[in-house]
């Protein structure tokens, strides 16, 4: 390590250049795939658009007062009746600007997708850790449930939950969490089982550290890489599942449409050639999912060479 020098220190400090922190190596390895880098940029833009939607969208699609039914089903590029805005992506049957609808729809899709993935990670990782650390009966009970659940397809489990609870946004989130937690639990348990036999856990146990501390401060951080990989992929799956459920009419309410519902709304008009109501939200959904998957693929290659085949 070189001595601390003033701010005018030359950037080409040789000692600094040679130091390759794990994080820096990770970044450079990640950037090896231009496709993944592109995916990351696209995701960043999408997130920005979703956050800034109220400021940058041409119209507030939830404000029924600004919608003019006379502007319904206008083709992309047409202007509104009073000439105030141009509908670059057309309008839906309510006269809602599709571009604004997509921006707000992204907000809901991302919130539901990422939010439910986050809750599922919390639950799944905790149970997976507990199963691996406790072993014995706890382990076998948790893993039985995981196996049973993973043997049924996600859509069936989600349908079951919605059939039990009825349809609402909260219930969609619950359904996604129920579908996803098992993946995280299995992943974390697998890694944790390997890690807990390592010396550092033994050392921590010898020091008689509290159990929660061993679990969350020692074991969990070492199980993170596969969790991050699975997590990224599962966010994409959660978004797709939310869209699917909304498309089936079991998800978010019509007043605040997510991408899936926007697509469903346009479906009936598509048969008469008014493609844009379904098409553009679909493209937004597609781009989001593919971008997340590209990043996830590269993360897997970089973080976990064992998974690479």
């Amino acid at each position: 390590m070189s001595a601390v020098v003033g701010q005018g220190a030359p950037i080409e400090d040789p000692a600094k250049i040679k130091v390759e922190t794990p994080f820096r190596r990770f970044c450079s390895e990640f950037a090896e795939s231009k496709l993944a880098l592109g995916g990351l940029i696209v995701i960043s833009i999408i997130i920005l658009v979703a956050i800034l939607a109220p400021f940058i969208s041409p119209q507030d699609p939830y404000d029924l007062a600004v919608l003019d039914i006379m502007d319904g089903r206008l083709e992309p590029g047409e202007k509104s009746g009073d000439g105030s805005i141009t509908y670059w992506l057309g309008t839906d049957d309510q006269g809602r600007d599709m571009l604004s609808g997509i921006m707000y729809g992204l907000r809901i899709s991302l919130t539901v997708g990422a939010g439910s993935a986050f809750i599922a990670v919390m639950i799944g990782a905790s149970l997976g850790l507990a199963a691996a650390y406790a072993g014995g009966r706890t382990d076998s009970i948790i893993m039985r449930v995981v196996d049973l659940q993973l043997s049924f397809p996600s859509i069936l489990v989600a349908l079951m939950i919605l059939a039990f609870l009825g349809k609402s946004v909260t219930n969609v989130i619950i359904a996604i969490v129920v579908v996803e937690w098992a993946y995280y639990a299995r992943t974390v348990r697998g890694t944790a089982l390997v890690e807990r036999r390592r010396e550092y856990i033994e050392a921590a146990e010898c020091l008689a550290l509290p159990r929660y501390r061993i679990l969350f401060r020692h074991l969990l951080p070492n199980c993170l890489p596969p969790l991050i990989v699975i997590g990224t992929m599962q966010v994409a799956r959660a978004i797709a599942l939310e869209a699917t459920l909304s498309f089936l009419g079991l998800g978010v309410p019509i007043t605040e449409p997510s991408l899936g519902l926007l697509i469903a709304n346009g479906y009936e008009y598509m048969l008469s050639g008014k493609y844009w109501i379904s098409f553009y939200p679909g493209i937004a959904l597609l781009v989001t999912i593919v971008a997340i998957n590209l990043v996830g693929d590269q993360l897997r290659d970089v973080l976990n060479p064992r998974l690479q085949k």
């Binding site: 069936l156 009825g166 699917t244 089936l248 598509m270 048969l271 379904s278 998957n293």
Partner: protein, 323 residues
């Protein structure tokens, strides 16, 4: 073998029972069909009569036992909406769903195997890379969006294929089938392809990985050293080995194909049980929901059992161990 079979059957029975409890409690403990089925301005008497008629006044465990006893006799209740036996409703629509799922599975193998084989034998060719990129898309694209695009291109833009319905059907063995008429086949093509998309990607990946792994095996080299034709080496020595995982997985996936047909059926207005369950969830038609879930669970468990048995037929090593 019979001990193994018996053990598997008992296991399967346990899962069915567990699922019946989950489904029953889930559906009957939460949500109130009285609210939906009985008009709000009905008086107290009318309400009570309806509740008693539906058996909703008894305690939950009692309701469950009644439910179980009736279920054993094939009675899963009457649909609140159609006022028909729920099981019959499901069974009426099952052939359409089965037809769709079989067509999708068949199509997945028909399309996926050759593509995967090619990608495995020539891993560095441009064609293989295109195939693999396509399979990633097949994995990540939401089914319903692809379905819409299919309709947009083939039905709306090109006008080649009809967008909805089953088309002309022929009655065989008491049920109607679409795949026996040209018109029916045209109706079947798009939904089947849509439902198959995920499975095609899966088969491609499995086949490719299997081929690449098997090609490195000594026995393949030995087969070549015996002077066998490349055709025989590929289609007997390699192919028979990769068939095991591919058949296992497509078999296991058949259950999820049926579950995912919910989406495809909704898009293409295919009159199967998937469309029925969506409608039933929307109106909280409990008996139909229960009947659907129980039937799908039962199908799942049966499929797993059959796949296990098929696996042992295909792989002589498993056969020996289970004896």
């Amino acid at each position: 073998m019979s001990v193994y079979l018996l053990r598997r059957l008992i296991q399967a029975g346990g899962v069915v029972l567990a699922m019946s409890i989950i489904v029953f409690i889930g559906v009957f403990a939460i949500g109130d069909p009285v609210e939906i089925l009985i008009s709000p301005d009905a008086d107290q008497m009318e309400r009570e009569r309806a509740v008693a008629a539906l058996g909703l006044d008894k305690p939950l465990w009692h309701q469950y036992l009644i439910f179980l006893g009736k279920a054993a006799q094939g009675d899963l209740g009457r649909s609140f909406v159609f006022n028909e036996p729920a099981l019959e409703l499901i069974l009426q629509r099952m052939p359409a769903t089965l037809e769709l799922a079989f067509a999708a599975t068949f199509g997945a193998i028909l399309i996926g195997l050759p593509l995967g084989l090619y990608a495995g034998l020539r891993p560095n060719s441009v064609g293989s890379k295109a195939i693999m990129a396509g399979s990633i898309l097949g994995f990540s694209l939401p089914t319903f969006w692809v379905g819409l695009m299919l309709i947009m291109v083939f039905a709306v833009q090109l006008g080649w294929l009809p967008s909805t319905g089953r088309g002309d059907t022929v009655e065989v063995l008491g049920t109607r089938w679409s795949f026996l008429t040209w018109n029916g086949l045209q109706h079947l093509a798009m939904p089947a392809l849509n439902l198959a998309l995920f499975k095609i990607s899966l088969v491609i990946r499995l086949t490719r990985a299997g081929v690449r792994e098997t090609m490195l095996m000594d026995y393949v080299k030995f087969a070549r050293a015996k002077g066998l034709s490349p055709f025989r080496v590929t289609f007997v020595h390699v192919f028979k080995n990769i068939l095991i995982p591919v058949v296992t997985v497509t078999g296991l996936e058949f259950g999820s194909t049926i579950a995912f047909s919910v989406v495809t059926e909704s898009i293409f207005a295919w009159p199967g049980m998937g469309k029925l369950i969506i409608d039933s969830i929307n109106v909280l038609d409990r008996p139909v929901i229960v009947a659907y879930l129980m039937i799908v669970v039962l199908m799942f468990i049966t499929i797993n059992l059959i796949v296990d048995l098929m696996y042992s037929v295909l792989d002589p090593r498993v056969r020996l161990e289970s004896k």
